[in-house]
Every structure is written in structure tokens, then in C-alpha cells.
């Protein structure tokens, strides 16, 4: 009797713990029976991707679980890999990351794609995701257009088409009374790297650009004529007095979203901003803002793109390849291309398809059609440079190339700044590569 009572008591102590732990444990186990997809998207983008997945589940009669991991998807995948609980598919926004999963020292985190995936993309796109063994390790599912100048339609007669026009316009409109001609979200380092990359692309041929990216990834120097020329142009433009609302130090506290709002709000604080197509999601609530291609700095008109690629994790369920196959079919991303038709009225997708076959007519709004047409017709496609790199060159808040460009920005926007000296310092700083 004694024993039984004691056991009972022990059980009664353990019961609440067990009862409370069980849901957490089963949540972990039950998930393994379906195909898991890890993504960085959240909010509207996540909802639209889930609409895409819902169609897959209906059509192929499989269960898929979308897990939104946030920006630290790299850490998530690595720790899940160590734990042996990797998801089946992950969608990453940096090809540099994808290739880092093939680290020759350790075991690969990802599997090669099935052979027929390759045929669905232009060669340039595939190259970015091809390992040293020649296998394709990822499939692009989304593209981002990063060569755009947003401007106030009601305040600017004609948007600048070339860099010289942009510079003239900024000088002309820069007055203490405002609105300032330019908004720069310098608090986010990637805004500045996007500016720089657009100019580097204009100063290099596609082959030179590719070679430069390869060299940088292998530890090469930033001290190239194209980089120096680009930084010099930026120093000249950003250094125009009264070019920015509140000046340079204020711009360094302006994040991407605020810089867009400075242009879009009524009354505007600024007239133009250089941001990718994703700025549309911030602008949609605000005023009359339109976008044109990034001003031509040279004879070339390169189109800078970023993108998200699906990878299949090592040891994934075979269904994972089936899902990737489905995601890379032209009609799968319908809900994201035409949100209005799929129950998301008023949402502008901000989605561009990287697939060769998807034409501009497939999109639900003029803005997307226009960007898709530019993407389809360009003969000079360049992929975001820092996304192809990792570590110092890849940047991060307060880290690496982002921080170097922010210091450069602070220097050249100070009245009386010495442009050439600042350029030299920035190049040296980029080459110094701290451990961080």
C-alpha cells in the first residue's frame, strides 16, 4: 500500500509537468509527417506564399507546413541540421548562403536539384546556384528588381534618365526650405550597397562584374577602377548641400521604410529615392509616387536583381523535390502575381518571377507588368553583389561593407568634405576586412 501511495504521489507531481510538455513534444513530432518549408517571409508575403502552397496541397494531395523563420534562417538551418530535424525545403535570399552549404570540409546541408529544373531558367540565373561539381543546388522562386528610382509624380516634371540629369536635378532642387531632392535610408546598410552595386554594374561589363564577384568571394581586392569611379559619383551626389532632408546625420537614422515615406507622404520631405521594387509595399498607403529605371551612369543599362531560391535539405523526403518542381512551374505563383483574384484585394504583390517563360501579361497590376517587362527585355542582368558574398563583404547591421559605406556616407555628407580622400578611405576599409 505504501508503495502504491508513493507512486501515486509521485505521479501526481509529475502529471502537470508531463501534461504541459506533451503538446510541445507532439508539436515537434507531428510536423515530421508533412513536408516542411522554411521561409524568411512574414506578414503579407507569408500569407501570399501560403496561398501558393494551399493550391499545391489541393492539387497534389500532400500536406505542407510553412514555417516562417525570420532573418536568421542560416542559423536556423544549421542548428536544425545538427539536431537532425532539418526541414525538407528552405527558401533563401542569398546565393552566397546556398553555396556555403556545400562547404567541402563538412557534409553538405543540401541536395542537388533534379536535372529538369535547370531548363526552366536563363543561364545567368542557374550559374549563381551551381556548385563546384557542376550540379544545380537551388531553384529560383522569386526575383526582386533593384534598379529603380522612385519619384513624386506631382512635384517633378520629368524624372531623370541619366546620372548627369539626376545630379543636375538634385543641385537645382536642393534648397534649405525643402522638400529635399533625395531621400536615402542610410540607417539600413543594404540601401547604400544597392546604390553602389547599381553604379559598379554600370562601370563594368557583365563578364567583368562576374569576375569581380568571384574574386571578392575568394578574398580579392575592392580597389578596382569601377569601385573608385562609383564611389566618386556617390560622394559627388550625396555631398550636394541640402540634398537630403535634415542632412547626412539625419539620413543615417533613416531606415529604408522611412526614406520611402519621406517621398510618399503629404507634404513630401523629399522628391526621389532609390529603392527596390519591394518599396511598393510601403508606398501603397501613401501618395502619388512612380518608379523609373535607375539613372544611366554610363552607356550601359544594367538591371540589378536579387532573388529567393528554394533548396532541398540533405535527407529530405522525396516529396520535397515534387514541391520544388511545382513551385518552379509558371502558373504556381498566381496568387502572388495577381493577389486581387485570390482574395487579397488592395495588395500589390511585389513579386517578379525568375522563370524564363512567365511573361509580363501574367501580372495583376501595371507596376508589376512594367517591372516584368524590364526584366524580360534586359540584355544586361546583374545579380546583387553583396548577396553573393558572405561574412565581412556581405555586411550586416554595424558590420562589414554596410558599416564601411555608412561611414563613407557620413563623411561625404559633412559640409566641406574631401571626396577623393573619403573614397580612398572607404576602399581601404573595404579591403581591411576585420574579423567581423
Amino acid at each position: 500500500v505504501t508503495v502504491r501511495r508513493r507512486t501515486l504521489l509521485r505521479a501526481s507531481l509529475a502529471a502537470p509537468v508531463a501534461a504541459a510538455t506533451v503538446p510541445l513534444l507532439t508539436a515537434g513530432c507531428a510536423a515530421e509527417r508533412v513536408t516542411q518549408v522554411a521561409v524568411v517571409w512574414s506578414d503579407t508575403e507569408l500569407a501570399l506564399f501560403e496561398a501558393v502552397i494551399a493550391a499545391y496541397q489541393r492539387e497534389r494531395r500532400r500536406r505542407v507546413e510553412v514555417i516562417s523563420v525570420g532573418n536568421n534562417i542560416d542559423g536556423f538551418l544549421r542548428s536544425r541540421h545538427r539536431a537532425g530535424t532539418s526541414p525538407d525545403v528552405a527558401i533563401l535570399s542569398s546565393p552566397g548562403n546556398v553555396l556555403s552549404y556545400l562547404d567541402p570540409a563538412g557534409e553538405a546541408l543540401i541536395e542537388p536539384m533534379r536535372p529538369d529544373i535547370r531548363r526552366r531558367y536563363a543561364r545567368d540565373w542557374n550559374e549563381l546556384l551551381t556548385g563546384r561539381d557542376g550540379e544545380l543546388y537551388g531553384a529560383w522562386v522569386k526575383a526582386a528588381h533593384k534598379s529603380l528610382l522612385w519619384y513624386r509624380r506631382d512635384r517633378l516634371g520629368r524624372p531623370p534618365g541619366t546620372w548627369a540629369e539626376l545630379l543636375d536635378l538634385v543641385r537645382e532642387r536642393a534648397t534649405p526650405a525643402g522638400p529635399a531632392p533625395l531621400a536615402v535610408g542610410a540607417a539600413d546598410g543594404w540601401v547604400l550597397t544597392d546604390w553602389l552595386e547599381n553604379l559598379i554594374a554600370a562601370h563594368t561589363s557583365p563578364d567583368q562584374y562576374k569576375q569581380f564577384a568571384t574574386d571578392l568571394a575568394a578574398g580579392g581586392s575592392w580597389n578596382q577602377p569601377a569601385v573608385v569611379a562609383s564611389l566618386t559619383m556617390l560622394a559627388e551626389l550625396w555631398g550636394v548641400p541640402y540634398a537630403l532632408p535634415g542632412g547626412g546625420s539625419r539620413a543615417l537614422l533613416t531606415q529604408f521604410d522611412e526614406s520611402v515615406i519621406q517621398v510618399a507622404a503629404d507634404p513630401p520631405r523629399a522628391l526621389m529615392a532609390v529603392e527596390g521594387d519591394f518599396a511598393a509595399s510601403v508606398i501603397r498607403d501613401f501618395g502619388p509616387v512612380a518608379a523609373v529605371p535607375f539613372p544611366a551612369a554610363t552607356d550601359r543599362r544594367p538591371l540589378l536583381v536579387g532573388g529567393d531560391a528554394a533548396v532541398v535539405l540533405a535527407g529530405a523526403d522525396p516529396a520535397a523535390h515534387d514541391l520544388v518542381d511545382w513551385l518552379t512551374r509558371p502558373d504556381s505563383f498566381g496568387p502572388w502575381m495577381r493577389p486581387g483574384e485570390f482574395g487579397y484585394p488592395g495588395t500589390r504583390g511585389g513579386y517578379l518571377s525568375p522563370l524564363a517563360e512567365v511573361g509580363p501579361a501574367e501580372y495583376g497590376d501595371d507596376f508589376s507588368r512594367q517591372r516584368a517587362a524590364e526584366l524580360a527585355s534586359t540584355t544586361d542582368l546583374r545579380f546583387d553583389l553583396t548577396d553573393r558574398l558572405s561574412g565581412f563583404a556581405g555586411g550586416g547591421d554595424g558590420v562589414g561593407s554596410w558599416k564601411v559605406l555608412q561611414d563613407f556616407f557620413a563623411e561625404v555628407t559633412t559640409p566641406g568634405a574631401d571626396g577623393p580622400a573619403a573614397v580612398a578611405r572607404a576602399v581601404a576599409a573595404l579591403d581591411r576586412r576585420g574579423d567581423r
Binding site: L13, A20, S42, I67, R82, G84, D188, S249, F256, G398
Partner: protein
């Protein structure tokens, strides 16, 4: 086969006066009761610390490299500034917090108005630091058209010369002001409780001998009690400055991250949730500093705290003249200032997101759109997950800590002191330092990046403090009651159960603090969580586009803050007693 699983043999020493330590469980049972706590703390705190120390003197392949990692970490640009800033935090902030807390404690009075003032000053303790960060970033927004404080400054000194409160020069002080706002309540409440236990006749005696108010303060308050309490509060706040991490992540724009960085942020940037040599070296330096701080705390608090019992004594008697005016006006002034961030937060949450992005809260039409928007972004999912997580963690911590605290309470001699010091050390190891090895352990257990892994980390982090509080509670149980429980009980668990009921206030305190701790967490979620987003991480995610989301963030912050404030208000008496018992002994 009869193996006493939870040994029944009890030694009762009936000789001599009843003292604690005279009734203790058999060694085998004690070991078993301690086992869960030892395993968890060993795997998730002790081993990671050892691993970090090892990693700091080796290369990734395991070869000994001497002090190379330390050199690399210290040579990295800006490290000296980061270390200096961390020390600045650990010295300046405690001085301000303790000083303000003491001022408030000596001037606050037991009137209905006094109670309202107390609530306003104490409420910020309950808020997640992420919410504090959101409120202060909204107030300090450099655009006078949005930031309340910037607007005030612009009105006073002109828009042209308004300082950028979030700019590289002022960001550290702005962060400190937010931290002081959040922590003064703690210093206030502890010091106030201490003052209430000073016998009043002592002050009367000093006065009778012709002592001035300064003499009264020095001889009747400072010397007998306050000096030590102040020292302990100081160290407590200094150790608490580790948490500035949450504030920095939310308040500092990317471009000034370097100008605001402290060791917590630097280690996080260097290593994230992995183990790297330079990150480990920084971590080891930091651990040494923390250990020194703890040693100071242990030395400064060697005193038996008079148990806060009996009816509270009447507050200080108001005199006349300017002193009385000061006494009456200081708390009111502080309360008004302290109310500011709460008002701004609530006011901002009551406007449409696009209005909060473009105009000040006092000039736009109120609306509940931000609330519906934040729920559309799945705040509910985070609320449910965090509530489940916090409940599970709290229950598990309570059970394990109760089991461990009971044998711990009856230990004596050097063993007890070592165990006590270890528990204290476990309570203050910064999680950023050991994140890499902890992730490795979780990976071995196949729970890395899952809700179970996050729960385990929370449990391990919460245990040391819970054990300390409960140990003291057990030690305070009258020996007669202990004896009765032991004679009636048949096994150690039954005894623990009986005694748990005798220590209800401490259990309530631990439960409330643990629940709020998990609810308010950002860093554990950031380092270890998987697909499910705890609330801290949810808010942090929204803050990546701060201006566009400020209305949504404010609404989310208000929703998130309701429960912790409620919990701490309901359990305030037990929490205060528990805090004092757990931290000061």
C-alpha cells in the same frame, strides 16, 4: 528487492535548541531530489561555460593557441570602446538607479496618492524591455513631427539645433535613460522595504540627542541597514545592465549600432548561436567581470535580512518648510516623468499606422486600426505560444526547484557555501556568452531549433534563482513544522509537498517572476527559437521597419504588456519578499 528509491531513513536530532540544519533528508534521497536540477544546470550552463573557456584558448580544430583569440578579439576595431561602454553601463546606471530609488524611498508616503505614484514608478519593471525600447524609440524619433521628446526639444531650442537623440553621440545616454526608467522601480521597492524595517525609535533616539536630519539618516538608517542594501541593489542593477541588449537591438538604428554596442551585442555579432574563438575570448573576459561583481555582491550582503513581517510601519513624518515641500514634490515630479513613455505608447497605439508614420499622436484622429493590423500579423499565434511556453517553463522550474531546494536548505558547512555560490553564479551567466555550446548540447539532444529546446534553455536559466528563493523559504520553515511533516510523511516527495504548502509565498514569487521572465524574453527566443515566434521576437521582427510599423508596434506592445503588469501587481507582496529573500541572502 527493497531499494529505498527516495530514502525513508531520516535523522532527527532532538537534542539542543531547534535550529535549521538539524533535520535533514538522507544522503541518497537528497541526491535524487537534486538530480534534475544538477543535470539541467550541468548540461546547459556549467558544461557550456567550460566549453567556452576551452574554445577561448583553442582554434576550431582543437589545437592550443594560447592567447591568440583574446588578442584577435581585443584587436578587432572598436573593441576597446565596447568594453569601455560596458563598464560605463555597469557603473553609471546603477548609481543613477540606486540614487533615484533611495530618493523616492525616503520621500514616498502611504497615502492614496502615494499608492498611485508607486504604481506608476513600479509598473515599468513588469514591461518587457522590448516594449520599453519601442516606447523610447517612438519618443526619441529624430523627426519632431513624430518624436514627442524631439518635438519638445525643437520647441525649446529650435528645430535647427535639436539634438539627434538616436544619433551616434547621444544614443548611449538615450538607451541609459530608457533603462533607468525601467529599473528604478526595483531599487525603489527594495530600498523602501528595507527602510520600513528600520525601527523608528532609533531615529527618535538620534533626534532626542539633538541630531540633525542628516544625522538621523546616517545613524538611524544608513549605518544599521541601508548601506548594505544599497550595495546589493547597486550590484543587482550592475548585473542587470546585461539586459540592455534588448534595448539596443530595438532602439539603435543599424548605422549607430557600433556607437551603442556593449559586450552583449558584440559577442552576439561575433558568434551568434555558434562557438567561435574570438567570441569565446570576449565571453570569458566578460564572465570574469561578472564573477567579480557577484563576489562583491556576496561580500556586501553577508547579513541576515530581517524578515519583512508584521504591519508596515508608518512612513516618514512630514516636517515643515522646504524639506516638506521637497518631500511632497519629488515623488509627484518623478511620477509625471515616468508616466510619459506609457502615455506616448498608448496614444501612439490608438492611431492608424499611416498616421503614426507621418504625424504626431497629438494631431491625428484616434483609431483602432493599429490593433486590428497587429492581430492580422498573427500576434495571437505568438500570444498563445508564449503563454503555453511560459506556463510549462514555470511549472517545470517550480517542481525541479522545489525538489532541489529542500535538501539544499538543510545543507551546511563549506558544501552549502559552494553550492550557494554556484547557484548564484548560474543565475548571472549571460546567455549570449554560452549560446554556442548550449546550441551544441540541444543539438545532441535533438531539440535544437524547437519549442522544447527553447523551453529547456528557459528552465535552466530560471532554476538557479528559483532554487535560491525556495531554499531560503525552506530554511525559514519553523523546525516544528518540518518535524511534523517528516513524521507524517512516508517519503521525501511527500515531505517536499507538505513543505511546499508552507512556502506558498515563495512559490508564488518564483512562479510570477519566472512566468514574466519567459513572457518578456527576447534574447533566448532570438538565439534558440525555431518556427514559433515568442512575443519578444514578434515585436523585434516588426521593429525592422520601425517608422512604417510604429503604430502596429505600439499596439502590440500594449497588448503584450497587460499580462505581466497584471501578474506582478497581483503577486506584488510575495514577489517583493521573494526578491529580497532570493537576492539578498
Amino acid at each position: 528487492v527493497t531499494r529505498p528509491l527516495l530514502g525513508e531513513s531520516v535523522v532527527i536530532d532532538d537534542v539542543g535548541p531547534a535550529r535549521r540544519g538539524r533535520v535533514y533528508p538522507a544522503a541518497g534521497a537528497a541526491g535524487l531530489l537534486l538530480l534534475p536540477a544538477v543535470v539541467l544546470l550541468g548540461a546547459l550552463i556549467a558544461w557550456p561555460v567550460v566549453r567556452i573557456v576551452y574554445a577561448s584558448v583553442t582554434d576550431p580544430a582543437g589545437g592550443f593557441v594560447g592567447l591568440d583569440n583574446f588578442r584577435a578579439a581585443l584587436d578587432a576595431p572598436g573593441t576597446a570602446a565596447v568594453v569601455g561602454r560596458t563598464l560605463l553601463w555597469a557603473l553609471v546606471v546603477p548609481v543613477v538607479v540606486t540614487g533615484l530609488g533611495l530618493l523616492l524611498a525616503t520621500t514616498s508616503r502611504r497615502t492614496p496618492r502615494g499608492r498611485l505614484i508607486r504604481f506608476i514608478v513600479i509598473a515599468p519593471i513588469a514591461l518587457p524591455l522590448v516594449v520599453t525600447g519601442v516606447a523610447y524609440r517612438i519618443m526619441y524619433d529624430p523627426d519632431p513631427g513624430r518624436g514627442t521628446v524631439s518635438a519638445l526639444l525643437a520647441w525649446m531650442v529650435g528645430a535647427e539645433s535639436t539634438p539627434l537623440l538616436l544619433g551616434p553621440r547621444l544614443i548611449t545616454y538615450s538607451l541609459m535613460s530608457a533603462f533607468v526608467w525601467a529599473w528604478v522601480g526595483l531599487a525603489f521597492i527594495v530600498l523602501r522595504t528595507a527602510l520600513a524595517t528600520v525601527p523608528h525609535d532609533l531615529a527618535d533616539a538620534v533626534r532626542a540627542y539633538g541630531g540633525t536630519p542628516a544625522d538621523v539618516f546616517r545613524d538611524a538608517r544608513w549605518r544599521p541597514l541601508l548601506r548594505r542594501t544599497v550595495a546589493v541593489v547597486f550590484v543587482l542593477v550592475a548585473l542587470g545592465t546585461v539586459r540592455t541588449f534588448d534595448l539596443i537591438l530595438v532602439m539603435a538604428p543599424g548605422s549607430v549600432l557600433d556607437e551603442s554596442s556593449v559586450l552583449a551585442v558584440r559577442v552576439f555579432q561575433t558568434s551568434g548561436a555558434t562557438t567561435t574563438g574570438p567570441g569565446a575570448a570576449l565571453g570569458v573576459l566578460w564572465l570574469v567581470a561578472v564573477a567579480l561583481g557577484v563576489a562583491g555582491a556576496a561580500l556586501g550582503s553577508r547579513q541576515v535580512w530581517p524578515p519583512p513581517s508584521g504591519p508596515d510601519q508608518p512612513g516618514p513624518v512630514a516636517g515643515q518648510g522646504w524639506r516638506a515641500v521637497l518631500r511632497r514634490s519629488v515623488p509627484v515630479a518623478v511620477a509625471v516623468v515616468w508616466l510619459g513613455p506609457l502615455v506616448v505608447l498608448v496614444a501612439t497605439s490608438l492611431h492608424r499606422p499611416r498616421d503614426t508614420a507621418t504625424r504626431p499622436w497629438w494631431a491625428a484622429t484616434p483609431s483602432l486600426d493599429s490593433y486590428s493590423e497587429v492581430f492580422r500579423r498573427d500576434l495571437l499565434g505568438s500570444l498563445v505560444f508564449t503563454a503555453a511556453l511560459a506556463t510549462v517553463v514555470t511549472l517545470v522550474v517550480l517542481v525541479i526547484a522545489l525538489c532541489a531546494a529542500y535538501p539544499f536548505a538543510s545543507m551546511s558547512g563549506p558544501g552549502a557555501q559552494v553550492a550557494g555560490a554556484l547557484a548564484l553564479a548560474g543565475a548571472v551567466v549571460p546567455i549570449q556568452v554560452i549560446a554556442g555550446p548550449v546550441n551544441e548540447v540541444l543539438g545532441q539532444a535533438r531539440v535544437a531549433g524547437t519549442a522544447v529546446g527553447v523551453a529547456l534553455v528557459h528552465i535552466a536559466l530560471g532554476l538557479p534563482f528559483a532554487v535560491m528563493v525556495l531554499r531560503n523559504a525552506f530554511a525559514d520553515v519553523p523546525v516544528e513544522r518540518l518535524r511534523r511533516a517528516r513524521l507524517a510523511g512516508r517519503g521525501e516527495l511527500v515531505v517536499v509537498w507538505h513543505l511546499a504548502r508552507a512556502t506558498v509565498p515563495a512559490v508564488v514569487a518564483v512562479a510570477a517572476l519566472e512566468f514574466v521572465q519567459v513572457w518578456n524574453d527576447l534574447v533566448v527566443g532570438l538565439l534558440f527559437s525555431g518556427p514559433d515566434k515568442p512575443l519578444g521576437l514578434f515585436l523585434y521582427g516588426q521593429s525592422r521597419q520601425f517608422v512604417a510599423s510604429s503604430g502596429v508596434l505600439a499596439a502590440g506592445s500594449v497588448v503584450v504588456s497587460v499580462l505581466p503588469v497584471l501578474v506582478l501587481v497581483l503577486a506584488r507582496r510575495q514577489v517583493i519578499a521573494g526578491l529580497i529573500s532570493g537576492t539578498l541572502r
